[in-house]
Symmetry: C2
């Protein structure tokens, strides 16, 4: 669990103010007593922070008259690297790896553009404009276009026996925005969030940015240790359990039905909201996955996020958030502050495809294509002593490397040879998952998967035999 | 200025935890001493909060053994109205007025869809797809499409003598998102933000949500009182001065060139960033407005936000944020967490129009159409004893009602008669501006403006003669 003692906060607060030049060189800063009162912390804590800053030559003492700012302690704007931003900003590590252009792209958990219905949109765009002549000159409502919400509510109700009205849905610009909105509603600095270990790295960044303390629950091929979940809910009183229970990212594991029901009961008992992020539900290779936790929820403790555009046209950025009215009103408020509503054009284009018969045909084909790619990747990896559980859906293999192969070395070497993958540590809030990697089979063609994995294995052999 | 003593924070924190049921009925809560240590606040402060909660029958004392949760103090989920959200969430008041459907729409500071080039987009969409066949199957970079940023940088450099490279720009989904991103970077709870009074109400909501203390500077037809600006920068050490200096919303006032230069100097002197929101620059009726403050900035203390899609296709939601590299890297991080990048389709469509010769013709026509609408509104209002300064640009009249006419009554009566406008209090962080209203002349047709204002004046006469 994150720890941040009061001293650290006071120290950082002062350090920040000195850096950004709130006081001039040789200016006297407030007395220990005054600042203690202002911040509502004990004087000794303030004194300790002042002393630390003195040791670092940022403050100096003039015999008994107090603490003064040391020349050079504040940054001039030109060499200022970081001081003007809040300490709540964390880097999005995943996006850094994604920014490196490579030939063998195993780090994108995205669908190969060649598998997407690009043609359809270019052909049918005109229809969208004819049906909605002012689609570009008007804003969507903040909650999202009513036709889109109706269509999605019907789809959910039919497929999963949800009980949704259109007003229980809000359209977001991608599922990440939905997580971000919920984090801004539920999380205050210091609140606890439960997360799976490993988990979706962008979600880690979002909750941390909001100041959450993160407590992790291991996810296993059979689900969670529910005793641990209960103990953590009881002890840590988390506000949210962020989960990805169906073809989980990065592992591909699926939480079974009996656990889903129990989790909903635990959520209600301990008043911990379950944020069910469900991007891969449609990408199953054998049986249909269990129904979402949301379908077992009668008391409103499950918040359901579903990305749709991912499998159709990721460029549209359309996801949906389902929740009860008491939460929805806050979601609408934050969405209004964030961007005042997702663009109407994108929603109407999505609807045009979503309502067409092609959607089901497309997703069926997509499932087959991804299944084949997964099998090719597994075939190439079969000769290794690497460990993974073959997933029944999703876009990734979650692989444990042998002790003899250091992940960091493999990553650096791979990037040099134009191969990228996601290091497991990025998916772990505790950063402990050092011998695991995520290989996505969804983004590049069959033949490229073969080539890329073969090259990766040559590199790994070289590393092991050094 | 907002005040929130430590006691209030501790009290709200506890009240919140009790409401949301972190402790059960009759459960003992932590001792005064323990909680004081945990929160890093003085024991007396905690005790005071416990006593207040006891007075409110949320806690009770059992002889010397401590404080216990009173039955009924926590909300059950069903009757819970607000307790599960953070106290940082404020309602967006403007969007509430906008949600009321009316015939005479004077509250939308938006361009009438009939004045926008809807046809163009429906005709030229196919070209966008032909030029960018995979526009829907790929994501934009987080910072925004490079071609779009190049085109905008060139435009700014030529028109205003900015010195921008494409990397100094980030594309956002509307200007509100740009403000939100900057507030998340610059503002920690308790930081001071300077705002004009009156100002753009959504910006008030955004800064408040981030926990800012807001200090206001009156904006006058001739600009600000710069002595006051300097005194406030010196005393309050604000992180940001949010301003809308050109055809200001809601007043229409423009800050003159000499003040712009001085403001940039003050910003550097007091290390206060100027957030220059410039949505109306192109909507002038006579002379070109002064150059943006950003063009006088050599030290990086001006952050420039410009919305473009507003006058072309508001449904696209395209705005741009200009800043220096040291800030830009943080902007990119927060944008990546927020929504991972503005949809590529919307950017490419915008670019298609922005690069065409039609843009300038369109904006020229738009200026004339809006000028005419403004004059019609003023003509109808000429018979009243209402006060306003005729604006040289923008979309609104900012009007002071006579003492004999109560604004709240006028608003309620108007809404009953399908006329809406924005009450001045919404635009004022201090809520003091009670006798002012904003009437937008941009959204409805000439004849409707006449009719609507005539009806409004009949209603106001009735109210005054009651």
């Amino acid at each position: 669990m994150d720890k941040e003692p009061v001293f650290q906060k006071v120290y950082e607060y002062l350090d920040n103010r000195i850096k950004r030049g709130d006081w001039k060189e040789h200016e006297k800063i407030p007395s220990v007593r005054k600042l203690g009162e202002e911040l509502g912390v004990h004087r000794l804590t303030v004194l300790k922070a002042y002393q630390r800053l003195k040791e670092q030559h940022k403050l100096y003492v003039k015999d008994k008259s107090g603490y003064f700012v040391h020349p050079g302690a504040s940054y001039s704007f030109s060499d200022m690297d970081d001081p003007i931003v809040t300490s709540f900003i964390y880097k999005s590590h995943l996006s850094e790896i994604h920014r490196i252009p490579v030939k063998y792209q195993f780090s994108y958990s995205l669908i190969d553009p060649n598998l997407l219905p690009n043609h359809y949109f270019s052909e049918h765009m005109k229809e969208v404009f004819d049906l909605n002549p002012k689609v570009l000159s008007t804003y969507s409502t903040i909650q999202g276009d009513n036709d889109v919400r109706e269509a999605l509510a019907q789809y959910f109700n039919k497929k999963y026996q949800f009980h949704l009205a259109a007003d229980d849905l809000l359209i977001t610009s991608g599922s990440q925005q939905a997580i971000d909105i919920l984090s801004r509603i539920f999380i205050q600095r210091g609140d606890v969030v439960l997360m799976e270990r490993p988990t979706y790295s962008a979600a880690i960044d979002i909750f941390r940015q909001q100041g959450a303390k993160i407590v992790t629950i291991d996810i296993h091929p059979y689900g969670y240790d529910l005793n641990q979940v209960e103990a953590f809910m009881k002890n840590y009183k988390p506000r949210i359990f962020y989960m990805n229970p169906t073809f989980h990212n990065p592992t591909g594991y699926t939480v079974p039905t009996n656990q889903r029901k129990e989790l909903v009961d635990l959520a209600e008992k301990y008043k911990c909201f379950l944020l069910e992020d469900d991007p891969f539900n449609d990408i199953y290779f054998h049986d249909l996955p269990p129904k979402p936790l949301f379908s077992y929820d009668t008391s409103g403790y499950v918040l359901y996020i579903r990305s749709f555009s991912k499998y159709i046209a990721p460029g549209l950025r359309i996801a949906v958030l389902c929740t009860r009215p008491s939460i929805m009103k806050h979601v609408i408020t934050v969405k209004s502050l964030t961007d005042n509503g997702t663009p109407l054009l994108n929603q109407k284009m999505f609807l045009h495809y979503f309502s067409s018969a092609r959607l089901q045909q497309h997703i069926e084909k997509l499932r087959i294509a991804l299944h084949i790619r997964k099998e090719i990747m597994e075939e190439e990896l079969a000769t290794t002593n690497w460990n993974w559980i073959s997933p029944n859906g999703g876009l990734n293999l979650w692989i444990q490397l042998p002790d003899t192969l250091e992940m960091e070395t493999l990553l650096a070497t791979s990037l040099d040879h134009s191969i990228s993958f996601v290091p497991g540590s990025i998916c772990d809030p505790t950063k402990d998952t050092k011998s695991w990697i995520r290989l996505s089979y969804s983004y590049i063609k069959e033949q490229m998967i073969r080539e890329g994995i073969q090259k990766l294995l040559v590199l790994s052999n070289q590393i092991e035999n050094r």
